[in-house]
């Protein structure tokens, strides 16, 4: 089956799925809304000028940072649900029995992850450009596309989370346990692993920032980290972030690794 055929099959399967629809709509609504919460923040201008959230070109960074959290949560859950619900309904095994090869089944999910990442990147562009345009006085696209690399970083960040969700979904299979593992890994487990391996959660050793989800998060980090890094503080001697190019390279490697492991596991296990 070709890519479009597989994507159209996935659409037929999930277009009436309540989790898919609910989380999808929540993502679409929440994403542009969250940035406006910034208008309510009362911060001294020397710490952070909240206009930064809305003006070109810095709003690309802020919108990417908001997307970082929302893609991890809403779209990651959708991706896992598209796998684990099929295990629960036993439609994964039925799809194979009906005639799909395992490879086609896997590719259907992988192409879906790519399609969702492309769609959410397009939505990121639309929201960022619209918000920037309407906050310029007069309305203007000046400086709108000064930093196009953010578009690629956002796509890579989305693929990072979705390929991790793909791996967790195919390996763990049970819906509740998969969501628990996915969330805990990102929020706690990776920090704990850093502690075990490096003896601390932040370190001046550059290797500590190369952990998988750390690298993906660093594709769209909190923009203020950059400001903090410029502050000379003798007691703080560590790198907050990977450099953008290192984050992109490391994330690309992890994405390939997640997809490869998920495929290898799915091809050899009983369904």
């Amino acid at each position: 089956m070709n890519a479009m055929n597989l994507l159209s099959l996935e659409w037929k399967k999930f277009k009436n799925n309540s989790v898919f629809n609910l989380f999808g709509v929540m993502y679409l609504v929440t994403y542009p809304v969250v940035i406006f919460i910034g208008k309510e923040l009362q911060l001294p201008a020397m710490v952070l000028d909240t206009n930064d959230f809305f003006m070109f070109p810095n709003n690309w960074q802020w919108m990417a940072y908001v997307g970082n959290w929302l893609v991890f949560f809403f779209l990651g859950f959708i991706m896992m649900n598209m796998i684990t619900s099929e295990v629960g309904f036993k439609t994964m095994r039925q799809n194979i029995i009906t005639g799909m090869t395992r490879k086609d089944y896997f590719l259907g999910k992988l192409y879906t992850a790519i399609a969702i990442s492309l769609a959410t990147t397009l939505y990121y562009i639309i929201c960022t450009v619209a918000i920037g345009f309407f906050h310029n006085d007069p309305y203007s696209f000046a400086n709108a596309f000064d930093e196009p690399i953010w578009i690629f970083r956002f796509f890579l960040m989305s693929m990072g989370y979705l390929s991790f969700a793909l791996l967790i979904g195919f390996v763990i299979r049970r819906s509740g346990v998969a969501i628990f593992t996915y969330t805990c890994y990102i929020l706690f487990i990776e920090l704990m692993l850093k502690w075990f391996v490096h003896g601390k959660v932040v370190s001046n050793s550059s290797s500590i920032n190369y952990w998988p989800l750390n690298a993906i998060e660093d594709l769209a980090p909190l923009p203020s980290w950059n400001k903090l890094e410029n502050v000379p503080m003798k007691d703080i001697d560590f790198a907050f972030l990977l450099t953008p190019s290192h984050a992109m390279i490391a994330s690309s490697i992890y994405i390939c690794l997640f997809i490869g492991l998920a495929y290898w596991h799915f091809m050899k296990k009983d369904i």
Binding site: N5, I97, T98, K268, D270
Partner: protein
Amino acid sequence: MSILTIKNLSKSYGKIQALDNLSLEINAGEVYGILGPNGSGKTTTLGIILGILAANTGSYQWFDGKYGPSHRKRIGAILETPNFYPYKTAEDNLKIVSHIKGSTTDNYDEVLELVNLSHRKKSPFRTYSLGMKQRLAIAATMIGEPDVIIFDEPTNGLDPQGIAEVRQTLTQIASTGKTVIMASHILDEVEKICSHVAIIKNGHLLATGSVGSILSDKVTLELQSANLDGLSSFLANIPWLEKAIRVGDKLEAQMDPTHSIAEVNKLAFEKGITLTHLVSRKQRLEEEFLEITK
């Protein structure tokens, strides 16, 4: 033409040996029953030949390798339970099956009519009763006009009416000349529907062949008399009768088919034994099954 060749399949789950060196050959047009008690390896066998379980050793081949890796598109199968998207209607679920099979000529109304579900085609699958779910699964096996249809315990968990409806549908499908493979632990079902049977237990093949050849040609007699002990001694002395056993207040014995029930009656009368009950019946698959799997 060989539809399915299974060679020396083995599969274990930890220490449990689910299949042990199983070999089978199924030919076109056969209605083939895989019969065995619960846990005998029937579903494991079907799981392996349908690509969802990996065998530890052995191999199988569909259609002499004619369709390559897409051979399952030529097979319609239910394994254990009816598996559909619960939030989708019967019709939408069948469309997904068509999509996977790459079939464009399906008449959903016709297949739903066959299983008496056309009036509920717009209802979500989750609103169906177990019997309706099972019937939808049977309808789904017909999508794409497959060459082979596989049913695994098709009447499991159904009420008597559901069982009767499903059996009627299966008999209808079997009469179309398609190759049907059916796993069941219900002997009556296999005996009524199948032309061939393989009996398995603990993953071993115990017997295989046409239902006629597996069925013994011996005749079972049921006898009753006021003097049951005398009757028992009398039967023990007749060389062409064997295994006279007491079943409730009657005796049962197996008779060589070259002799007749009239001879038994005559000899008993001559020995002064008055029979109050004398019935002959052909030995049923159930008795053979119990005998083979003992």
